[in-house]
């Protein structure tokens, strides 16, 4: 090779090298922007309804959380979210994160990352730090639904899915209650709920969802679907003794299917169950098995006090959440429907059920899109109910009056993210 060719070669290589450096610098500049940092925690005094509420915002692809107090003031717009940690196999929080039904009495914020992650995240609300996390999968996609603290560092987690091939790990059967101890850090056992399906079709699984404390027992709402969801049964309530971790009783809810909402009245004398009906796999849901059932505890039994049948009274299937505003009033969202044109064929509505008169009053209606009025949470002792309104990107606070809910007020989270509010938790 001639000298001139070598020189040209060297020049070419030098140009290429310098070009590479420039390109690498460009690469760094073109990275995706980092997620907005946390706005930190909030120190809220404990009141009659606990410290406050946490709001979960999500587009079902990622999640962010915020803290508000019972008066409706936003204290931390971005507590923790999907971007709070660099992703690994999954994101820090997936797009399917919900809050426990009961207030988390230990004062922590507990986030239930359902499917497929199956992880509990325990967050310090004052520092926004994740205290610890617990994987609930035990080898399969357990789809945890609810978390309930029992005291003494012990808690239950309801797991919706069952494991078709159990035996590889301890407590890996699924469709059960997982017993956690050490403040939720360790899986200590499980509660088999199959006894509560006595007399039901053997293909049905318990599929537990929401849980409540009722006196000394835990009430667990069982959805009773088969493994492939092709078969459903009447929903059931299982009573679990948290001392022995066994099912001590159960009650079927005849004609109530697709139940996923559960609430306790302020006095604890009643519970209400919301059922969306049978899944039809069609554009128009059947309302035959949908409605709200109000029950009273009578010893080891439940007595049905009232039933608001969707087909007759509500007009639409109830949502996945409901709450007692008082002993007399139950607040429940109903699902609308989207037409093939993209227009709302039926709006979502927030309804107030009067248990004394049996009347139904509309409190709120979705604006553009159904399936946007989400979780409702009431603190009778604080005189307020909150509901998420994803359609308008807000949380609505209602005052509780003797005549029912009044004075709706919008809360804009102003988190700079803009994910729609979906769920509410208390701590």
């Amino acid at each position: 090779m001639s000298t001139s060719r070598m020189q040209r070669c060297t020049q070419g290589a030098t140009i290429a090298w310098r070009g590479s450096v420039v390109v690498l610098a460009l690469t760094s500049a073109c990275n995706a922007p980092d997620p907005l940092p946390s706005t930190g925690g909030a120190s809220l005094d404990e009141g009659p309804c606990g410290h406050g509420l946490f709001v979960i915002t999500s587009d079902y692809q990622s999640t962010s959380t915020a803290i508000v107090d019972w008066s409706g003031i936003v204290h931390s717009a971005r507590l923790i979210g999907s971007g709070s940690s660099a992703p690994g196999l999954g994101a820090a929080l997936s797009g399917d994160v919900v809050a426990p039904t009961e207030r988390v009495e230990s004062g922590r914020i507990v986030l239930i990352d359902r499917f497929p992650a199956g992880v509990l995240s325990f967050v310090d609300p004052e520092t926004a730090e994740v205290l610890h996390q617990t994987s609930l999968g035990t080898g399969f996609a357990a789809n945890p639904q609810d978390y309930l603290e029992l005291g003494g560092g012990v808690a239950y987690v309801s797991r919706y899915e069952s494991n078709a091939s159990p035996g590889a790990e301890a407590f890996d059967e699924g469709s059960d209650l997982l017993i956690l101890d050490d403040d939720g850090r360790r899986i200590a056992g499980r509660v088999d709920l199959s006894g509560a399906l006595e007399g039901a079709d053997p293909e049905l699984l318990p599929r537990p969802s929401r849980m409540l404390r009722l006196d000394e027992s835990v009430v667990v709402l069982l959805s009773a679907y088969s493994r492939s969801f092709t078969l459903s049964g009447d929903a059931r309530l299982a009573l679990v003794d948290p001392m022995t971790h066994t099912v001590t009783g159960w009650a079927a809810l005849p004609g109530a299917r697709g139940c996923s909402a559960l609430a306790r009245s302020p006095s604890g004398a009643r519970i209400a169950v919301g059922c969306s009906g049978s899944f039809g796999g069609t554009s128009t849901p059947t309302l035959d098995d949908a409605g709200v059932v109000v029950l009273r505890r009578d010893g080891a039994d439940f007595v049905e006090e009232a039933r608001f049948v969707a087909a007759e009274v509500l007009g639409d299937p109830p949502g996945f959440s409901l709450a007692f505003a008082s002993e007399r009033h139950v607040v429940v969202p109903s699902f609308g429907r989207l037409a093939t044109s993209g227009e709302a064929a039926r709006d979502d509505r927030l309804l107030e059920l009067d248990l004394e008169t049996g009347s139904v009053r509309e409190l709120l209606r979705s604006e553009r899109e159904p399936f946007t009025i989400g979780e409702v949470r009431c603190g009778a002792a604080c005189g307020a109910c909150f509901v998420t309104d994803a359609d308008r990107g807000r949380v609505v606070r209602f005052s509780i009056t003797p005549g029912g809910l009044a004075s709706p007020r919008s809360l804009e989270l102003g988190d700079g993210v803009g994910l729609p509010p979906r769920y509410l938790g208390g701590y």
Binding site: N31, P87, G88, F140, G281
Partner: protein
């Protein structure tokens, strides 16, 4: 910058038509690459080798070969070592093309999809030997099912596909073309690699100037048992992280090809292709909770034929050309998930698709100034989805398409091209079957400003017709919507090509393209009723970008490559409340670079006559994985090196390749781990 040779005595038009084709052959010889064996498509009017030796034309665009079907569009061609490297998948090969974004779900045999210029996989059609590979369920093509061993070239049309293609794609299209038999040859190859990769290929061809036939069979296996870190979903707690081995990711594939070529006198050529592809593989699902028993099987059969005939009085004057094509395709995909480990909710689902199509085009060149093409295509696609224990779907699409294009050369250095197509889709299926009328338009120009520089620009409007799955529903929970309208939007680009040739020391070619693309009525699924979702026309997107690529050859020994894609992909859907607007899974900057050394030593006792080594890197800037921009996938840097020894005039070739040398463990899609560092070896033998 200088021109190497005088223009020949043939007319400028003919030279321009042949320039790209010839440059490939000459460049291949010049680079000393195996690409010297590469053949240009018959439809480009490629002269014979003898012609190439005697023609005295300017060498242009040799270093960066471009697609031949439409000279005014931005395109990239992969061939030779870019496709032949051991263990290299189609996804890996295409990932280095500007404008391409790849999404892999695992190893080389797992689902991998591709989008061009910010378009989705459903908006980017892929053709193999003229046969559309996309299905009517989701219309995304699984690149892992495209075998490279029989392919001669891959043409990537960035932004604007040739008008005669069945579906143009909103971001462009990919066309894979097989090797046509032209010589008597027996060949075989044995491959081995990491994670249980093994392959055996046997083939042979007979042929000469007038006809040829080839048969090839390849069997390969892949265990897919790579290690990955399972964080168990607890990203704030590293104490429970564990290293796991990917299970149930194995695959076994058998792929057979039969290719024929027949010269139709002086008037043209008929080529036929048939492929039978079968793969049985595990479906491991997400890494955190892998599926242990879910398995899938894919059987695909393709047949295609195309003929190109000169239809004028003089078959050599290029004034008239008739092209007739036919294809048939059947796919049968069976997924078994006995433990319901995957999120489909059924223990078994069979998805079958069949398609047949014919096309015809006539090109006339009444003068040196004008070229006019008109044609029509018709196809029937059928789709059936049969889930066990649940309602299925059976639907059909009847599509007819008429297209036309005119190229005007008012002066020799300027080509103006206008093309348009109208498609009519009629469907049959449950409920209300929709029909669609889908017009596409494009105008383009190519201006050769000087012997070494040319400019091109395009303005077009493209559409995507909803799939049968979107129109009629894919499952009990994913309903269809007969009221869907077309996804549509304009696209524009402008670019420049620079060719500098110096056969003795340095040669450089470069291309820069700036593009913009807008898409509206994008289809996305939304919850429509209790427990079910439907697709709706709800989204809009805008993508601006720049693509650049360059290649330099130094001292006839060293080849340097550089590719760069910078994009600004934004979601501009009306009424969105989310503050962030970057489109998910789109890196705003992708950079590729490579260097290779090729030596042709004199044969010694071992008859070593080819020695090559190279290294390349692909770097993707970090990208968001969700619309809110909260989940940011980290930067990805994939470095690879390869080595080739050729003996006895390609009688024996030994190739080695190390991929992902930096052991980058980032993912393309949340939840799905990718293999780390791997080695691949391929030993090829040929008997002529």
């Amino acid at each position: 910058v200088k021109s190497q040779r005088r223009r020949g005595t043939r007319g400028r038009r003919a030279a321009a038509q042949h320039a790209v084709a010839l440059s490939l052959s000459i460049a291949a010889t010049w680079l000393g690459e195996a690409a010297a064996h590469a053949e240009l498509p018959a439809q480009s009017g490629t002269p014979s080798d003898g012609d190439a030796e005697t023609l005295d034309v300017e060498v242009r665009g040799a270093l960066l070969p471009r697609a031949t079907k439409d000279p005014t569009v931005a395109s990239t061609v992969l061939e030779g070592d870019a496709l032949d490297a051991p263990g290299r998948s189609a996804a890996e090969a295409l990932a280095r093309v500007p404008g391409v974004q790849i999404a892999r779900t695992g190893g080389a045999t797992d689902l991998a999809t591709l989008g061009l210029r910010g378009a989705t996989a459903a908006q980017t059609p892929v053709y193999l030997a003229g046969v559309p590979l996309f299905d009517e369920l989701a219309r995304a093509t699984d690149l892992s099912t495209i075998p490279l061993f029989m392919l001669r070239r891959a043409e990537v049309y960035r932004g604007n596909a040739p008008i005669e293609l069945d579906r143009l794609g909103m971001g462009g299209a990919i066309v894979f073309e097989p090797e046509l038999p032209r010589a008597n040859r027996l060949y075989s190859a044995v491959g081995l690699g990491s994670f249980g990769e093994r392959s055996l290929m046997l083939g042979g061809s007979v042929g000469g100037r007038d006809s040829g036939a080839a048969l090839a069979l390849r069997a390969d296996g892949f265990d897919g048992d790579f290690d990955y870190t399972d964080d168990r979903g607890t990203l704030f707690d590293a104490s429970d992280d564990r290293t796991r081995t990917r299970r149930n990711a194995d695959a076994r594939t058998i792929d057979g090809w039969a290719i024929g070529r027949l010269r139709l006198g002086d008037r043209g050529q008929l080529s036929t292709v048939a492929e039978a592809f079968s793969r049985e593989q595990g479906s491991p699902g997400i890494g955190a909770i892998p599926a242990t028993r879910a398995r899938a099987r894919l059987d695909r059969r393709l047949v295609g034929a195309s003929s190109r005939l000169a239809c004028g009085d003089d078959p050599h004057d290029g004034r008239c050309e008739l092209v007739v094509g036919f294809y048939g395709r059947s796919t049968d995909y069976l997924l078994r998930d006995p433990l319901l480990e995957l999120p489909f909710g059924v223990t078994e689902q069979r998805t079958r698709g069949t398609g047949v199509g014919v096309n015809l085009s006539l090109t006339g060149r009444p003068s040196d100034l004008v070229e006019i093409t008109g044609g029509a295509a018709q196809s029937v696609e059928a789709l059936s989805v049969e889930p066990r224990g649940a309602a299925g779907l059976s639907a059909r699409r009847y599509a007819a398409r008429f297209f036309g294009a005119a190229t005007l050369r008012p002066v020799p250095s300027l080509a103006l091209r206008a093309a348009g197509a109208v498609g009519s889709d009629r469907t049959e299926g449950p409920g209300t079957p929709p029909s669609f009328l889908s017009p596409s338009l494009r105008g383009g120009l190519l201006y050769e400003a000087a012997s070494f520089v040319s400019f091109y620009a395009n303005l077009g409007r493209y559409v995507r017709v909803p799939t049968l799955g979107e129109s009629f529903g894919a499952s009990a929970t994913m309903l269809g919507n007969p009221e869907l309208s077309l996804e549509k939007g304009p696209t524009a680009d402008i670019g420049a090509r620079l060719d500098i040739v110096d056969t003795r020391a340095v040669a450089i070619s470069a291309e820069v393209t700036v593009f913009g693309r807008y898409a509206s009525d994008l289809i996305a699924y939304r919850r429509s009723s209790l427990g079910v979702q439907r697709p709706y026309n709800v989204g809009s997107a805008r993508v601006l970008g720049l693509e650049a690529l360059a290649r330099a050859v130094l001292a006839e020994l060293v080849t340097l490559d550089l590719g760069l894609t910078a994009t600004d992909p934004r979601d501009i859907s009306e009424g969105r409340r989310i503050e962030a607007d970057l489109l998910p899974y789109q890196s705003r900057l992708v950079v590729t670079s490579g260097a290779s050394l090729e030596i042709r030593p004199d044969t010694g006792p071992l008859r070593l006559d080819r020695l090559g080594l190279g290294a390349s890197v692909l770097h993707r800037a970090s990208r968001v994985a969700d619309p809110a921009g909260l989940v940011v996938l980290p930067e990805q840097t994939l470095l690879e090196a390869d080595l080739v020894f050729g003996f006895a005039d390609a009688g024996l070739t030994v190739r080695g390749r190390a991929s992902n040398l930096l052991d980058d463990r980032t993912t393309d899609l949340i939840g799905l781990p990718l293999p780390g560092r791997a080695a691949h070896l391929l030993v090829e033998g040929a008997l002529r």
